[in-house]
Every structure is written in structure tokens, then in C-alpha cells.
Symmetry: D2
Subunit: 337 residues, 4 copies
């Protein structure tokens, strides 16, 4: 599903063109049209799917690889192989997120983490995006963190079934139900933000310390859109006006997939809602609402982002745009615009 | 819907018999069969529905009234009228929960609050049950509170649509969606527990102080069963063993509707789930799971209870059973057993 | 909900501009922004909502009225009043569908029915669109009917909850459920098509005779998109090739809201599906699939259309475009294009 | 899922005791508790799961085998092997339904088909139950067929996701959607009823001729309960009274799992509904409603049955009860009652 989202978003991308596809053994040798059951964009329908071991044709036909390989072991070795061979890798997977020299990037937060790239051992850069569930709340928190230092947050996510892939959540499991557990998801919510808020050192990226996060992750009967209820405290307690101002002043990057306003705020008492707000700015903005004091910590709010766009394919493409326009991109020329 | 649940549960109750029904203007004069569209239990089908002003026939035919009136103003005046006239009132409504001399009762927690009844100004006692969403987590918290003193908790509830009544949540609103707001629900979750954990004084029930609760209330696409993700800290930090032992040792009351084990614990990583666990002990037990440390507070867990049974009709009947067997029941004899 | 769809579609319409709004007593005096809870298109947000009795300002500010009044009695009198006063009326309601001089129009089928307009008694023309559930199968049937004469059809519809309006189907009623009944819907499916396939005579439109339709109407847990399973027999049995050719050759009208290809055919075995196909051609095309022989009648197929667009607001606007470009439009000039 | 339903229903069965379990390679060697993720009834929790090739221990420990093997090839060979070795086989699978000497049984319709058993070539009898979707309408049709001869019927089924097993229908596929296709299901609905209504001859069971059935099969977002909209014609047209009388007089069999009233009729305009009616008589009764004339054929009605109980495990157990009490049961004594 994420691959198909990539195909759809890249089909009309001003800078990137899909020239090569590689997939699992199951789809090897099929056209993309066959592999997607007819859902492929017309421009990619006839492209054949190579195996993940087809390094030479990949090198001949592309400069940058988007990796959204499901199996973690496979992703780890494939991403290494591509980067070693000289193909820049923009990864959706968790395979290299723990590696100190691989930046985990949300461009509006930590574009500067690309400064760690010269420390990488591969011929071409490898960058990652974080777990999709972070996206619904981390940019709003990071925007305040700059001036008030995040101290701790307790986050309850309610996540869409598409996050688990086409067959991840059976209808018998989730209809008239909720599952209060997603494997390894709470750990990712508690560690990846610290890396994103960390600093580049000579030993790679050092995660932020003195921040404690606690996540409760739930799967609910929603197609797309992860939502999070957040209680948070900062070192210096911001006022309501400061928070709202920081959010509304958070500026979009000058990149094709970047939303003009990365954080939207809905003043209605019952927003954001997944179905009504997930497509804001083409699925690339985070929508917040319900900012109100927290009797235990300092503030409460609700955040929402589209897990398949900002949280997956759109976020990956935005990362590639950032990489391409940075001075760390070597091996090719930046696109002339 | 709550009325119908009462009818079903009382239809086979060993102590209580439904002898009189009163309802809104819309149903006045209908039989219960007509008013429920054919869903009434056979034994009550032919009972006529009186208006809420029909005091005399109520007095002639019953001793105790279950109140689940939807409109708060109507509930307030009707409950006062019945209690003044000498009918004991067991209320599901929020109308009198704020009154210091009206106990808000979860029998396994604060049966002793019935000691406030002599302070009431009415001829017969009036007791209330709390909002349905509390039930999924308050008994587990109160059980530990006895020995370790609850300090604060951050609670995210994900609540079933039946909690809003038959027409409360339209299908267009909730299909493929979540609503991160339920009117006045967070306030109730933040104040009612303090009263339930409070103490009886000469000025009525004094709410517990030094406890701070923060609630995030969400409506999800589930029919029955409210679930809560809880992060909690106590004055003295209990061990995992102490918590699990306290929960498993929480004993059921010797009342017909009381579950033998009021708190069940599921050891699986992905439980409790609304559809799988809401009917535990006929919908009267709270099911907990996922007890684990909280990086910000002390402990995290998930709690679940059936909002229409323990959280509504079943909880009300249990309260009536408690009242009937207490020495505060005046105006009639306790049932001979 | 239908009104809001009209507002969204008209907001970017090349010919029409919304200049006046009238609604129920509940919303009278509010701005459209207020009445829609903030969902109104920006260009209409500040428009005030008049009462349905405000004839004079309507006459001053508009030439044509879109009527989607929920209550049938109210719709009947309001539509008559507007048409009598000289405002053309394009109606979504069932109020005048039974009137022999009011054409019930699906432009691709019976644009010629506008020839009945001179028989109307009102100062301005009044035209109606049929019930939304017809749209998923009637155009495919009518396309074959031209050459092979429709004889009878048995149709089972599975209809989206949005067809009943925002509060029409409660979530408690439809979650994990299906309702095999929609009030008066089967009758409409059995009579309205006969009028649409009828002929203009001096006594108004005479419905087609010698056609028998049988409808089973069901409400299902789908947001948008009515789907129909059809078994059908014609006077002369068409071949599979003839049917597919007729459908693919069905041409779009030269009107702004008309889809280029009014009937799309999906060759996959499991299409059309509401969520995947309802938005075809902006929600204005009918998508068919699964054409196969019927062991009892002649042919079976599945048809789908978007009940809120083709079946409601989009269909109404298309009707208005047809009226405006016909020689029956009096009282104003056709738009210059 | 079907296996687990068997376990639950057999756990409290008066005649049968589960003594042996065999399953796929995935579960071989596990206890039933492990294989079911903790859902096994306590009495079966510790039973080990053998491979399908473990014939000897099966022979030592049981007399009759319930087969609900998912893969058709595997089912075919396993069922043959058991029957050849002398274990009676009651099958839920489609593997032997096409074999002329294997009766496909709905006991209230064609118990007499057990007369074909002496023609079987195996040491022990092998009987099958039909596809679950038939059950919602075939008994009502067969009940009238006796006196009026069924001619043809057009049937649209709307089937629950549990019919496809735990992983058969992904939530991404069915949420806010309907799938108008179930592989091979329409064929089964068009052929299996003819065998059930057929006659035992010397060449096995000869299907009924002169009956034409047409099925449209849809998957909908419902957990349990298959519903069917039926239009039907008989050789001699029965009156409404005759149909209702035949249904209400349809008598239950004297078997432990047989419902007293196999066909229930709901007079309300909007029944049966899956969630409200699937559990009638413990899920073993068919519930009908909406009997009304059909403008194309003769009569229309809606039928519903629980696909996991009457349509699967409950139906299989009822078949076993029938077999055990018939004079065709050889190799063991009927249970003493």
C-alpha cells in the first residue's frame, strides 16, 4: 500500500521520475500493473518489477531509492547494499533508524541532521523517516520545544488500520472493536522523537536527554489518519497564546511536497477528526485542536496526521526533496528549477 | 436503551419486580411493548407507561425507583419529587451527583458512603451512580489507592456509541472516524472520582483532595464497552506484584448482581478488547490488561467495562441491592432471603 | 448534507452563482457558516439564511432555485410558490415527481422530457430528479432499452447511510448490521424508472408500460455510494458484446457537470466497490461490473453511483444545466459561453 | 474460527465428547490452548494437536470426525482417509459435496438423503453440509416447495466477514465498503440447493431439475449473519397465508441441537437484521421477514441465518446428531438417552 502511494505521488512529481522497481519474490517478473491488481498509475503500469538483488540495472537507471520494504531484515541488507553501491536511500523502514549516523528526519524539525551524513560509511547517503504515529504530535511539540524545552509527555495514539498494511488487521479483529496494542509501536514513540530532537556530534546523532515520553498505542476502526491525545509539560510553561502563535507561525519549507502551513489548528471543540481532517494540505499538514490545560501536566491537545501520506510516502518524498537540495547530495546535480 | 437494559436485567432479578413505568410525553399512554418497538421482555410488555407526574400510582405500586431520565432538568425535579414523596431513588443521571448528601456509589469502592443518607432532606434515600466512563478504570485505581494513595492519573477513554443513546451518534459522523470530544465527559471524569474516593463528614461527602486527574474522552466506532488507557502515580509506588495481587484479591460483594471477581486481568499483550471482554461476568466485571511501567508517571494499564451494564443498568441495580441491604433503607423491610 | 454538497459544487461552477439561501426555521437568520458548523465554502460563508416564505428577496436575487427540502409537504408548497412566482425550480425532492407535467430527468436518458414543460401551469419551469438509488442502474438499463426494450428487472440495492441524511441512520442501528428496509424506497424504484422511460403526450408524461420492476432496498454500513445487483430481461435478448458496446459508447453531454463517459465498466471480478469507484468522474459516472448471464432472467450486473453527487447535488446541477441550455428556459437568457 | 465454534458448542454437548484434534502443520504439536491464542474451552485447552496424517491415534480415540479443513485438496484426501479407515466423517467443506453418494444435508429438509449412504464405498459414512450462505433462504423455500414446487428464484446475499475466516477479509478492504463478489459462492448457491432438493436413486442423489436459481453474492461489513433478499416463483402460486402457515408450522427435529422452531417470522417492516436476529434459537433458526408480492416473480422475502452456527459448526453438529440416530450409523451404538 505504501509503495502504491509512492507511485501515485511520484507520478506527478516535478523533480522525480520512477525508472525502476524492485520487490519481493512474490512480484518479481510481474509488471507493476499486475502486481497492483490494476491500481498502478498509467505511466508506471508497464514497468517490470525486479528482484531486490538486481543491483546493476538499478545503478544504471536511478540515483535515489525509496525503500518501503516490509521485512526488517530484508530492508536492512537491501538498504545497505544500495547505499554502498552509490544509490542514495530514503527509507520508510525502521531498519536503520537506530544507527547514529542515519538521520531520522521530519524536515520542518531537524533538516540540520543531514550534517551527520559525512560520517556515514556508505558511498551514497541513507536517511530515514520516523514511525508514522509520531507525525501526529511531534511537529507540534517540537515547535514549542525550541523556546520552552520539552520535559515530558504522555501520548495515547489511535491509529488507522492502513498503518498495518493491506492484510495487517483483519476485519473480524477490528469491526465493533479496538485493539490496545501495536507491536513495538510504543517503543518507537518513546525513542525516535528523542533522536529527532537530538544534536549532531562527532559520534553521530546524540538523542535529546532529559525528556521522558510515555505512549499508549491503539488500533481503531478507521481507514486512514493517526490521531493522538497528548498531555505535555515543558521546562518553562508556555501560555496558550504562545503555543497557538508558534503553531500558526510554523512555516512551510520551499520544497514541492511541503505544506505551506505544516500545522493547522481547528478551533471547534470536536476537531480534529480523522475522516474530516486527514487530507488537509494533501495529507501533508498536521491538524491540531482542543488545546486546553492539563490538570496533571501543563497542556493537553489532540493531533492528527495522514499516516499514508505525511506518515509514509509523502513524508519520504519530502525527505528526498530535502536531501536533493542539500549540499550533502553527492553523486548527482541538484535538479535545475 | 438504558431503560430497556434495566427491563431485561430486572426481568429475572431475584429481589426486584417491575410494577410501574413512567416516561416522557412521547411514550405516555403506550404499553411498554409499543414504546420499545417490540423489544420489551414478555413480563413487562403489557405494562402501561405513565407520565412523570403520575406520583400517586407510583406510590401505590412501588417502593424504589430507577431513574434514567435523559434530560437533566427533568431528571432533577422528578428525582426530588419521588424521594420527597417517600420513594427511594437509584439514579443513573448526573442530576444529583454534585449534591454533597447524595452518594455517588460504586459498591465495591464506597459502600460506606451510604452513611451520608441520614443527612438527606427527603423522605426516602436518593443515591446515584457515576458516569459510565469512570467504571473502566476507577475500581482498579481505588483498589490500589487504599494502600498507596492515588496521586495523579492521565486517562484517555475510547467510548462506545451506545453511551450516547440510540440517536446520539449518527453513522455519518462516526463511520471511518473518531470524535475526540464528548460534551462534559472530561469534567465528570475529573471530579466524580474524587467524590467517590472522598469521606463522609457532617457537611456531606467531602471529595478527596491532593488527587489530580486529567481525562481525554473520545468516541469511537464500537457498539458497547468503554476502554481507558491510564498512566498513574501513587504516593508510595506499588510494585507490579502488589498491583496484580490487589486486583486479583478484590472480592465481590454478596449481592445478586455483584460479580465474584470485580477485576479481571488478562495477561495477553493485546487485551482487553471491547468486543472480546465487555461481557465478562455478565458485563459486571472490569477487565484490565497491559500493566507496565510508565516512563513519565509510575504505571500504565488498560481498563475496560461494559458501559450499558456495569456502566448503566447493571450498576444501578447493584446500587439498589446495596441500598436495600443496608441499614439505611427505611420505609420497607429488606428482602427475606 | 445535500445542501452543503450543492454549495461545494456550485462554488466553482462556471455558469451558476449562489446569491440567496433559504432554509428551515431552525437556521433562519443564521449565516451559512453558522448553519453548517463551519463547513460552508468561503464564498458563501457570510450569506444569510432566509425563511422559506421570503419570496421577494429570492425573486430579486435569483432566477433558478435548487430545492432539497427534507419535509415533503414543505417541499411541495415551497416549490409551487417559487415556480408560480417565476423562479425556475430544479428539485431533488419527491414532492412533484408524480405530477404528469413535471419531468423526472436523468439528462443522458430523457432530456427530451423537457418538451412537457409548456404544459406546466407555473410561470417558470419545475423539473425533478429521481430518487438517488435509481442512478446506480437505470442509465445502464436505459442504454440497452433503446434497442432491445426492457421487459423486467429484479434489483437489490445496498445503500449508503448518507442517503438518509446526517441523522437518518444512527450508529447504534447500523454498526455490525444491515437494515433490509428503507421507507418508500422500493416503491420509488418500481415507479420512477417507468416515468423516466415514458413518453411526452398531450396529457403530460405517460409512463412506460409493459415493464415490471421489483426492488429490494437495503441500508448498509457504507458512507457514500449506492450499489445495485440487477437481474434483467429484455424483449430481444442482447448479446454480451452488444451490452458492453452500448455502455462504452454511451456519450457524455456537452454540459459542464456531465461526465465524458457516463457509464464506466470495470472488468475485474470484484468491482465496482463503493469506496473505490464512487468518485469516478467526480462522482458523476455510473460504474458497472460483473456482467454475466442470469439463469432465471437474461443478464446480471452490478451498478454503482455516488448517491450524494450524481444521485443528489451533482445530478440536480446537471439538470439545471440542461434546463438552462434548452429552448424551454424562459425568463432569462442562456449563459453566454 | 469454525473449529473454535465446534469446540465451544461440543464442550457442552450431551452426546459428543472431543477426544482428539488434528490440524495443519502450523499448529501440529501445540496444545489447543496455544493454537487458539487462549480462546479454547477449558476442557479442551490441554489437548494436543496432531497432524492430519495421524490416523492411528484418531482411530483409537474417536468414532466420528468433524472436518472443517480450509484447503479443498487437503480436505478431500483427509476426509477420504478417515472414512476409509472407519471413522464417520461429518464435513463442513466443499470437498465431497459434488459426489453423488455423499448427501449434502440440512436435516429439516432432506434427512432422508442418508438413504444414499449404503452406496458409499468407504468403511464409515461421510456426510456434508452445504455452503453457509444457502442456510438463510433454502429451508424457507424448501418448506413451500413440498406443496407448491419451486420454479425459480433470484437471490442476493449479503454475507458476514466471518464467513471468510479470521484473515479472509482485511479491514482495509471492507471498511466503508462492500465487495460484490465471493469466489465460487454464486455457483454453490445455484447448484447445492438442487442436490438438497433432489432424490435418492440407485446412481446416488439426483439433483432436482426444472429449478433455476440465480445468485448475487456480496460481502458486507457485518461480523456474523448472512442475509438474503429473495424473489421467487413456484409452479403453483401459494397465498401469503399458505407461506406464513407453512413456515410457522415447520417443526423442529428431536435432536439436541435442533431448534424447536427452525423458521421464525418477524412481522416488523425492517427485520430480520443480522445483529438483532442472528442469535435466534442459539443461532440455529432461520429468521424471515418482509414477505410481500414480487412484481416480476411471485413473492419476495428476506432470510437470515447465523453463518458460524447454523451455517457452520452448529449445522455440522446437527448433521452428526442426525447420522448418529439414523439406522445408517454403523460401527458404534447410538447414544443411550
Amino acid at each position: 500500500m505504501v509503495g502504491l502511494r509512492y507511485a501515485q505521488l511520484l507520478d506527478r512529481h516535478p523533480w522525480f521520475r520512477v525508472t525502476f522497481l524492485a520487490g519481493s519474490e512474490r512480484t518479481r517478473g510481474q509488471t507493476y500493473q499486475q502486481a497492483t491488481g490494476g491500481e498502478a498509475p498509467a505511466s508506471l503500469a508497464a514497468l517490470p518489477i525486479h528482484g531486490l538483488d538486481a543491483l546493476q540495472p538499478a545503478l544504471e537507471r536511478c540515483e535515489l531509492v525509496f525503500s518501503c520494504i516490509g521485512d526488517r531484515e530484508t530492508a536492512h541488507s537491501a538498504e545497505e547494499k544500495y547505499a554502498t553501491a552509490g544509490l542514495a536511500v530514503v527509507s520508510n523502514t525502521a531498519a536503520h533508524r537506530g544507527c547514529p549516523t542515519v538521520p531520522v528526519v521530519i524536515p520542518e524539525i531537524n533538516a540540520s541532521h543531514l550534517d551527520v551524513l559525512p560520517q556515514q560509511k556508505w558511498k551514497a547517503p541513507l536517511i530515514a523517516k520516523p514511525n508514522c504515529s509520531l507525525q501526529s504530535y511531534l511537529l507540534p511539540l517540537a515547535t514549542i520545544h525550541k523556546s520552552h524545552r520539552l520535559k515530558h509527555a504522555i501520548i495515547t495514539t489511535m491509529q488507522a488500520v492502513s498503518g498495518a498494511g493491506r492484510t495487517g488487521v483483519g476485519s473480524v479483529a477490528i469491526l465493533d472493536n479496538l485493539i490496545p496494542f501495536i507491536s513495538r509501536e510504543e517503543e518507537k514513540n518513546q525513542t525516535e522523537p528523542l533522536k529527532i530532537l537530538g544534536t549532531v556530534t562527532k559520534e553521530g546523532i546524540r538523542p535529546a536527554s532529559d525528556i521522558e515520553l510515555s505512549a499508549h498505542c491503539n488500533r481503531i476502526s478507521v481507514l486512514d489518519g493517526h490521531i493522538a491525545c497528548v498531555s505535555v509539560a515543558f521546562e518553562s510553561n508556555p501560555s496558550e497564546e504562545e503555543i497557538l502563535a508558534a503553531w500558526s507561525q510554523c512555516e512551510g519549507l520551499a520544497l514541492p511536497s511541503a505544506p505551506k502551513r505544516p500545522i493547522l489548528y481547528r478551533p471547534e471543540p470536536d476537531r480534529p477528526q480523522p475522516r474530516l481532517d486527514r487530507d488537509a494540505s494533501g495529507g501533508m499538514s498536521v491538524t491540531c485542536g482542543r488545546l486546553r490545560p492539563c490538570p496533571v501536566l501543563q497542556w493537553r491537545f489532540v493531533g492528527l496526521s495522514h499516516n499514508m501520506i505525511r506518515g509514509a510516502a509523502g513524508g519520504g518524498i519530502l525527505n528526498a526533496e530535502l536531501l536533493v537540495t542539500s549540499h550533502h547530495w553527492y553523486g548527482t546535480q541538484p535538479p535545475s528549477r
